[in-house]
Symmetry: C2
Subunit: 328 residues, 2 copies
Amino acid sequence: MKVEDIRIGVVGLGLMGSSIVAALLVAGHQVVALAPVSYDAQEAPSKIGRQLELCQQAGMIKNNPSFYLDRLTISEDYDLLGACSIVLECVIEKIEIKAEVYHKITSVVSSKTIIGSNTSAIPISVLQEKVAHPERFLGVHWAEPAFMTRFLEITCGKLTSADCADHIFTLAHHWGKEPTLLKKDIRGFITNRLMYAVYREIFHLLENNVAKQEDFDKAFRYDAGSWMTLMGLFRRMDYMGLGDYAAIIDQLFPELSNSEKVPAKMQEMVQTAAKGIHNSKGLYPYVHGEADQWDEAFASFNNEIHQLAAEYPAGKVNDYLISGKNYQ
Amino acid sequence: MKVEDIRIGVVGLGLMGSSIVAALLVAGHQVVALAPVSYDAQEAPSKIGRQLELCQQAGMIKNNPSFYLDRLTISEDYDLLGACSIVLECVIEKIEIKAEVYHKITSVVSSKTIIGSNTSAIPISVLQEKVAHPERFLGVHWAEPAFMTRFLEITCGKLTSADCADHIFTLAHHWGKEPTLLKKDIRGFITNRLMYAVYREIFHLLENNVAKQEDFDKAFRYDAGSWMTLMGLFRRMDYMGLGDYAAIIDQLFPELSNSEKVPAKMQEMVQTAAKGIHNSKGLYPYVHGEADQWDEAFASFNNEIHQLAAEYPAGKVNDYLISGKNYQ
């Protein structure tokens, strides 16, 4: 089956949902976008149009945005999902709301239609219990902006079939992703667990006045940042020669923070309703207009790192061999 | 005092030492390079010459490599360090050898000469005990390749004077660095602690068969990698809006690995004398010639990310304000 003939449904058109719609359109799919919230349905066309313009500016698409928009249906009517072989859910992180959405989806689609959730907080095995024919349900977790990041985390719940996961894993390469496949449904998946391991240590060091907040950021930006996108963690160890790691692990692991508590600084953020750049209250001070500057900087940086990553794919030995699994 | 008039000594001309020499030459300094190992003294001129050529190719220097090499003295004679106001030590990570080197340095320099160590393993406060006038001693920790990375970790020992640390911190901006200043001498400094916190969790997930090794690498490369160099950790939280962190911390911190043990996989690496790309035995398999490919890829990627980072300096609010502290 050709990618252009695969029709994908997306339910939920907030920030993430509309960004996923743009990613799927750019990949060549026909997309049915369901907006459970009417406001989102009105906003979605112009929002997705702008995202496609960004893709055009970045040289990611061959045709004009209108070509892709013609392949998109936006509606509040779940019946239109009936012809979709894949439906991706991106509604808010509330189990009862998601369960209701799954009920509406499964009422109109075939029992073979794959249903994916973009959740980053709720275990897939928990959500799976709410879905008829749960073997076709899995986590499909995108990074923002979905149309310009290579990350995609595919997570199997306890009941997810291997075929279902393989299908999305293979297709994801056609979406321009470098997908990761989690065979076990662990809380936080991979990236959140790894990042929160870093957060636990960095708040510990901050609370002990080891350095200033901005110095921690600099250290991560210019040390880890200088090899991260090229190598990842295990490859980096091989590159560095492996020699010292065991000895340093032996010294350092026992000294790292094992805290289970929310750090005081983060509690303070919650209590003061700080939303970072979004309300100019956060870990850093913000001046008027700075939020927009960060948004622009991120969009631009993301475009550049996206292109840079394309020049340095994973080592040949470890590349996922897509030949033979091509959809074309 | 002009940068060109500041004479810096570098003791130890291995991989790191010669790379630091190149970085200081490019910054405009006069450099006296001491080679305690004769073999290194013979190899150093061509090695440093090649590094300067890389800088030229990357558009980092205005003059030819020969211009900078004319400002370099390579010798085995410690007396030549006498006119240096800063001496950086980059010999092997053995306390007794470093102590001997410090004794030779302090015998010929003024009591005000700043002495820095590139150690990444030995606490600065421990090394400081081996140095006469210990208030002028501190950690000056570079990332490889020193002439093309923005990272520099400056660490105070218990006895280091604030003036001494400030002096190097300010000067580091003239070296093209985004330095971090550690006011406390903690084991592993910042970056190692943060990275080993990630390693602890990633080995835990690997041992529990959550995903394949290469999938962990992909997740870090394409998720963290897509914002790391732009933002660092705390800025990222502000950018994301802070809202969910406290709740996720509350759920995840208690589930993260608190292991103090060297992971079985890493023990196996030690037992089989695996040195990664350097002897084609490591966490990944390697084919003949692949080590060279990784070296080339890293040199090239590093050049690109170095340039990319220059376009996205830290937010204005948090920029280190160097005006008024200019050496020119």
